[in-house]
C-alpha cells in the first residue's frame, strides 16, 4: 500500500477505535445513570419501578414534616394536589426546603410505598420551581379541571 494511504488508514482506525470505545462507555454510563422523574400521581398509579434510582417531587404538604428526636431522620409528604406520597430522608435538608415549596428528591421506592431519598434538592431561588415539579403540577391541575368540568356537566 502507498505509505501515505497506509498512514491515513492508521489514523482513521485509531480515531474510530477511540470513538467507538468512547461511545460504548457513554452508552454504558447513560444506561446506569439516567434518573427518570415521576410525579406523585404516576407513583400512585404504580408507574415507578421499585429499587431503581429515580427522581420524584412535588410541593411539600403543610404540617407533614416529621423529625426524629435523636437523629437527622426526617419524613415529609409531597403532593401534586392529586395524590401525595411520603418521602424519607436521613440528612440535612437544603436551605430552601420549606412547607409549601416545590422540591425534587432523588432516591428509590421501597416496597411499603415510601420513597427513600438519598438527596433532596430545592433551588436557590424564591420564585423558582423545578420544571419537573411545575409540569407535574400543571398536568395534575388540568386533570382536575377536566374532572370538575365533567362534574359540572352533570
Amino acid at each position: 500500500m502507498h505509505p501515505l494511504r497506509r498512514k491515513r488508514l492508521i489514523i482513521i482506525i485509531a480515531i474510530l477505535l477511540i470513538l467507538s470505545s468512547a461511545v460504548g462507555l457513554v452508552m454504558f454510563a447513560l444506561q446506569q445513570n439516567i434518573n427518570l422523574f415521576f410525579s406523585p400521581t404516576q407513583i400512585a398509579s404504580g408507574e415507578a419501578p421499585q429499587q431503581a434510582t429515580i427522581r420524584a417531587g412535588g410541593v411539600v404538604v403543610e404540617g407533614s414534616v416529621k423529625r426524629d428526636p435523636q437523629t437527622l431522620y426526617v419524613s415529609f409528604d409531597v403532593t401534586d394536589y392529586q395524590y401525595s406520597m411520603t418521602i424519607e430522608y436521613l440528612g440535612i435538608l437544603p436551605d430552601l426546603f420549606r412547607e409549601g415549596q416545590g422540591i425534587v428528591a432523588q432516591g428509590s421506592m421501597m416496597a411499603n410505598g415510601v420513597f427513600k431519598a438519598t438527596q433532596v434538592l430545592a433551588k436557590h431561588d424564591e420564585e423558582y420551581m423545578a420544571p419537573e415539579v411545575s409540569d407535574a403540577l400543571k398536568n395534575a391541575q388540568s386533570k382536575r379541571v377536566t374532572v370538575t368540568e365533567s362534574a359540572l356537566s352533570y
Partner: protein, 646 residues
C-alpha cells in the same frame, strides 16, 4: 439622566458596530485601503460607548436609582457598596452588558495591536468581531435592556441582590470567566478572517496563539474560582457538580485546550490547518451555546437566570447565524487551506493529534450528557436528569488516558521520533510511578482507582522533569544558562501540565481520603471526624447590614491540642426572606476543616455538616498553575519580537 445616557450610548455603539461589521469587509472586497483603515477607530469608539453605558449602570446602582427596573430588582439601600458594584453583573441584563463590555475590551486590545498584523488581515479580524458585537449588542438592546425605567411608581427600596451572590467570589468569578469565554471570539475572528482572505499560513497561527492562550488562561482561572466559590458558598462542600452551567464553561475550556495544542502544530509544522480553523469555530460555538443554556432557561441549573423564551430564541438565532455562517464559509474555503506538508506517525504531530482527538471526545461526552435531558424531553420520552455518576464514569478514564499521553508528547520530536528516545524515559517513568503509587496506596489503604490516578500523576511528573532535564543538560553551557534560554512557551506548557497533576492529586485525595459526616448536635456536644475532635460551643444571634445571623462556634482539637475555631453562620436575608449558609473553613495545604450549619431541628439541636477534606486546595492550586502556564505562554517573547519585525 444617567440611565438614558447609558441607553443612548449603547444604541449609538450598535451603529458603530454595524459600520465596523460592514465597512472593512467592503473595503477588502473593493480593495479600498481607506475603508479598511476605518476598522481601528470604529472599534475604539464602539468600545468607549459601551464603557459609557456600563459606567451609567454602575452609577445607577451606586446612587440607588430604583426607578430603573434592573436596579430595583437587584439592589437595596442596605446592600454594602462593593456588592452594589458587583450587583451590576449579578443578573441577566447587567451581566449581558458586562459580557458586551468585555467583548469590546478584547476588540480594543486587537485594535491596539493591529499594527502587528498585515494591513488586510487586521481589519477583517476586527470586522468579524464587529459582527459578533452587533449580535450581542442587539440582543442586549432588543430583549434585555438594563436601563428600563419603572416610572412614575418607582419603589422606595430595591428587592436586594440574591444572597447567594453577596460574596467575594461573585465579585471576581464572572468577570474572569467572561474574559475567557469572550476571549475565544478573538480566535474565532482570526479563523474566519483567515477563511475570508484565504491567507492561512504559519504566521496566522502565530498571531492567533497568544490570544488563545490568554483567553484560555482566563477561562481556567474563571472555572477555578467558580469551583472554589461553590465549595464554600453553597454550604455542602462540593467542588464540582456537573451542573449544566458548569459544563457550559467547561466545554469551551476542553475544546479551547485542544485548539491551543493544534495551533502549536499549525504554527510549527503547517499541518492541521483546516482542523485548527474548525476547532476555533467549534470553541466559540460552545461559548455561545453556554450563553444560550444559561440564559434561555432550557436546562435546570443552580445558575439559571429567569427564563424568558424570547431571549432563548434570540440567542438560538444568533447561534445559528454565526455558527451556520462560519461553517458555510468553512465548507466553501477549507479545501483551499489544506495542508500539503506530511507528518510522521511517530512525531509530535501524532501525539498532539491524539491529544486533539481525546479532548474532542471529552468535549462531546460532556456535551451529550448536558443536552441529553433536553433531547429526552423534546422527544417526549419523559423528564430525566443525567447525574454526576455518568460524567465521572465517562470522563475519568478518558481524561486519565489523555494525561498519560500528555506526558509523552513533549518528549517526542517533530516529524519523527526514534523509539529509543521514548522507550528509556517511559520505562523509568513506569517503574517509578507504579512503585511509588503502589507504596502510597498500600500505606494509606486506598483502592484501585486511586492507584491508577496517582500512578498517572507520578508518570507525568517524572516524564516532565526528565524532559526538562534532558533539555537543560544538553550542550556545554551548563544547566542554569540553558534553563534560562528555554522559551517561556515551554515553561508555560510545563507549568500547565504540572497544574493538571496537582489538580488530579487533589481530586483523587479529596475523593478517597475525605471524611464527611452529617450530625445532629446541640451546643456542648462533641464529635470526632477523621481524628479531629469538634466541639460545638454555642450559637449566637447577630445582625448584619442586610441580614440576621445565627452564628455558631466550633472548636476543633487534634490530639487534645486546639487546632482551629470555626464560625459557621446561618444568615436570614430580610428583604428576600431567604436563608443562606455560610460555611466555616480552616484551610490547609493538606486538609480543610469544613463546618456548616444545616437546619435547626429543635430548640437546641442543629443539623451540622462536619467535613475533613483531604488535599482539596490542590484542586484549585492546580487551576492557578494552569492559568499561570497559559499566561506565560501568551507572553512568550517570540510573539512580540516577530510582531515588531513586521
Amino acid at each position: 439622566m444617567f440611565p438614558e445616557l447609558g441607553q443612548f450610548s449603547l444604541i449609538l455603539s450598535l451603529f458603530f458596530a454595524l459600520s465596523l461589521a460592514v465597512l472593512p469587509l467592503v473595503g477588502y472586497w473593493k480593495g479600498n485601503r481607506l475603508l479598511l483603515e476605518t476598522a481601528r477607530p470604529l472599534t475604539l469608539i464602539m468600545s468607549m460607548l459601551v464603557l459609557v453605558g456600563f459606567i451609567s449602570l454602575c452609577i445607577a446602582f451606586l446612587s440607588d436609582d430604583f426607578s430603573v427596573l434592573y436596579v430595583a430588582q437587584n439592589s437595596n439601600t442596605q446592600l454594602p457598596i462593593w456588592y452594589k458594584v458587583s450587583a451590576v453583573w449579578g443578573s441577566h441584563e447587567g451581566s449581558l452588558l458586562f459580557w458586551v463590555l468585555i467583548l469590546c475590551g478584547w476588540c480594543s486590545a486587537v485594535a491596539l495591536k493591529i499594527r502587528t498584523l498585515p494591513a488586510d488581515v487586521g481589519p477583517i479580524v476586527l470586522a468579524v468581531l464587529g459582527i459578533v458585537c452587533v449580535g450581542f449588542l442587539s440582543f442586549l438592546l432588543f430583549t434585555s435592556s438594563p436601563f428600563v425605567r419603572i416610572l412614575p411608581d418607582a419603589p422606595l427600596d430595591g428587592g436586594d441582590l440574591n444572597p447567594l451572590l453577596q460574596d467575594f467570589g461573585l465579585i471576581v468569578h464572572p468577570p474572569v470567566l467572561y474574559m475567557g469565554y469572550v476571549g475565544f471570539s478573538v480566535a474565532f475572528a482570526f479563523a474566519v478572517a483567515a477563511l475570508i482572505t484565504g491567507n492561512l499560513n504559519a504566521s496566522w497561527a502565530r498571531w492567533a496563539r497568544p490570544w488563545t492562550a490568554a483567553s484560555w488562561a482566563f477561562l481556567t482561572l474563571g472555572i477555578t474560582l467558580g469551583s472554589w466559590w461553590a465549595y464554600y458558598e453553597l454550604g455542602w462542600g462540593g467542588w464540582w457538580f456537573w451542573d449544566p452551567v458548569e459544563n457550559a464553561s467547561f466545554m469551551p475550556w476542553l475544546s479551547g485546550t485542544a485548539l491551543l495544542h493544534s495551533l502549536a502544530v499549525t504554527e510549527k509544522r503547517g499541518v492541521f490547518k483546516s482542523w485548527t480553523v474548525l476547532l476555533a469555530i467549534f470553541t466559540f460555538s460552545l461559548s455561545l451555546l453556554g450563553a444560550f443554556l444559561v440564559r434561555s432557561g432550557v436546562l435546570t441549573s443552580v445558575h439559571s437566570f429567569a427564563a424568558d423564551p424570547t431571549r432563548g430564541v434570540f440567542i438560538l438565532g444568533l447561534l445559528i447565524v454565526l455558527i451556520g455562517g462560519s461553517l458555510l464559509l468553512y465548507a466553501i474555503r477549507a479545501a483551499q487551506v489544506r495542508s500539503t506538508v506530511s507528518f510522521g506517525l511517530s512525531g509530535r504531530e501524532a501525539w498532539l493529534l491524539l491529544n486533539n482527538i481525546l479532548l474532542t471526545v471529552l468535549t462531546l461526552t460532556v456535551l451529550l450528557g448536558t443536552l441529553y435531558p433536553l433531547l429526552f424531553d423534546v422527544l417526549g420520552l419523559g423528564k430525566i436528569s443525567v447525574g454526576a455518576p455518568y460524567f465521572n464514569a465517562v470522563f475519568s478514564p478518558i481524561a486519565l488516558l489523555l494525561m498519560v499521553f500528555m506526558a509523552v508528547g513533549p518528549l517526542s520530536r517533530w516529524h519523527q521520533t526514534s523509539a529509543n528516545a521514548l522507550l528509556v524515559p517511559c520505562v523509568i517513568a513506569v517503574l517509578v510511578s507504579v512503585s511509588v503509587s503502589a507504596g502510597l496506596v498500600y500505606l494509606l489503604g486506598f483502592g484501585v482507582t486511586a492507584f491508577i490516578s496517582l500512578a498517572v500523576a507520578m508518570w507525568v511528573v517524572v516524564l516532565s522533569f526528565y524532559d526538562w532535564f534532558s533539555k537543560v543538560s544538553a550542550g556545554t553551557k551548563g544547566i542554569i544558562p540553558r534553563a534560562r534560554q528555554l522559551p517561556r512557551n515551554y515553561y508555560g506548557m510545563l507549568l500547565a501540565h504540572l497544574g493538571m497533576v496537582v489538580t488530579l492529586v487533589g481530586i483523587v485525595l479529596v475523593t478517597v481520603n475525605s471524611e464527611e459526616s452529617m450530625l445532629r448536635l446541640s451546643p456542648g456536644d462533641q464529635a470526632t471526624v477523621a481524628g479531629y475532635e469538634f466541639r460545638f460551643d454555642r450559637v449566637e444571634q447577630l445582625k448584619g447590614p442586610n441580614y440576621l445571623s445565627s452564628k455558631g462556634q466550633f472548636t476543633a482539637y487534634k490530639e487534645g491540642k486546639q487546632v482551629a475555631v470555626l464560625y459557621p453562620e446561618k444568615r436570614f436575608f430580610t428583604t428576600r426572606q431567604q436563608v443562606m449558609t455560610e460555611a466555616a473553613l480552616d484551610a490547609g495545604f493538606t486538609r480543610d476543616l469544613y463546618v456548616s450549619l444545616g437546619e435547626r431541628v429543635d430548640e437546641q439541636a442543629w443539623g451540622v455538616r462536619v467535613y475533613v477534606k483531604s488535599f482539596v486546595r490542590w484542586i484549585w492550586l492546580g487551576g492557578l498553575l494552569m492559568m499561570a502556564g497559559g499566561l506565560l505562554a501568551a507572553l512568550d517573547k517570540r510573539y512580540r519580537k516577530r510582531a515588531r519585525a513586521i
